[in-house]
């Protein structure tokens, strides 16, 4: 019973860590926190990077480790590359938080990598799909920049990969 409680407590501590670049969502919302394994005093969190060169990876790993330590565990973080993270793992709650924050969540399922195809991205402010892409790359590797031609809102779109 104690072990089960510790397991839940370790997960909750790690899961609450916000993403340093998109602080409206947690590592659990994004689906990059894969699992937390507790063995006695030791908690091992397994985390997947979003992009190969994501500069936030080390910051995330340090924050997760610190959160587990604050919860009273000897903490370790393992980086998991395989299977590769996909935007499909962002939870429904995470998508809603992104939208409320002004970032359009990824549209559709990953895997259909149409080379020159375009997707309809609803505006996170007015929900109309009258949007246009401004830039394939945005403020971070995981986002593109869009603009709504109805309400005029410029916004980040979380790319579907």
């Amino acid at each position: 019973m104690v072990a089960v409680l510790d397991q839940a407590r370790a997960w909750d501590a790690a899961a609450a860590v916000p993403d340093p670049e998109v602080p409206c969502v947690t590592v659990a919302d994004l689906g990059i926190l894969r699992e937390v394994i507790v063995d006695g005093e030791v908690a091992v969190a397994r985390v997947s990077p979003t992009y190969s060169g994501c500069p936030a990876v080390m910051a995330i790993e340090m924050a997760v480790e610190a959160a587990l330590r604050d919860a009273g565990f000897e903490a370790r973080v393992e980086r998991v590359m395989s299977p590769a993270w996909t935007t499909d793992w962002i939870t429904d709650e995470g998508r809603e938080k992104l939208r409320a924050y002004g970032i359009a969540p990824p549209v559709g399922a990953a895997g259909k990598r149409a080379l020159f195809g375009e997707v309809e991205v609803p505006c996170p402010r007015c929900a109309r799909v009258t949007t246009e892409k401004i830039s394939e790359f945005g403020s971070t590797a995981c986002k593109a920049q869009y603009r709504c031609t109805s309400c005029g809102e410029p916004f980040d779109y979380f790319k579907c990969i």
């Binding site: 190969s52 060169g53 998991v80 395989s82 299977p83 830039s135 394939e136 945005g138």
Partner: protein, 246 residues
Amino acid sequence: MAMQAAVLELADDHLILGHRLSEWCGHAPMLEEDLALPNMALDLIGTARALYDYAARLEGKGRSEDDLAFLRVEREYRNLLLCERPNGDFAQTMLRQLYFAAFMEPYWQAATGSSDEVIRGVAGKAVKEMAYHIRHAGEWVIRLGDGTDESAAKMRAAVEELHRFTGEMFEESDASAALEGMLPRRADLRAAWDRVIGMVFSEALLEVPEVRFPQTGGRQGLHGEQLGHLLAEMQYLQRAYPGATW
């Protein structure tokens, strides 16, 4: 140690091209590209880090990913000559990116079925990033090739300059030739590469040129003089202040 050598070759390709792209940071012709080029550089350098880390572990001599990147000399680098070509103008940079990404996308796709777990992990991430690079660079090649007289002339000059370096991508090195099942066979990717390049070129109103004198040598450590200049800049800090950290 064939696997270690082959992983190091791949890592060198990604680091050198990533460094080249990073040279554009602050110099791109518009803000959009000033974001795009370093973002693409980050993808490549991120992949390089994972590969150097693996190569260092396979070697087992206590060298780190940083040692492999910063403390090897020009002749020890085994990158493709295409990756070290100078940025030139914007047309050359975008064409070089398209050539490389159109090869690496099917390469990583095939590598997701590798018998090596680390390679599978790296491939799963990189294949998606390469698809983005193809799209971004491909759109520019089309826009410039089918653009003004000046942009079209620059795009044709870029093809003339760079196409002779593409054949090297499809050749196995002594190391990679021995790794059936662990890394994809390069010659098998020719059709996929031809298809993407053909599609982009036909929209860009460009001709695939006949190459009379293909340029190779990177896998033997025989580079153009430009690589030395690149390394001098990239490695300066670790050479001047060995072991510096921050």
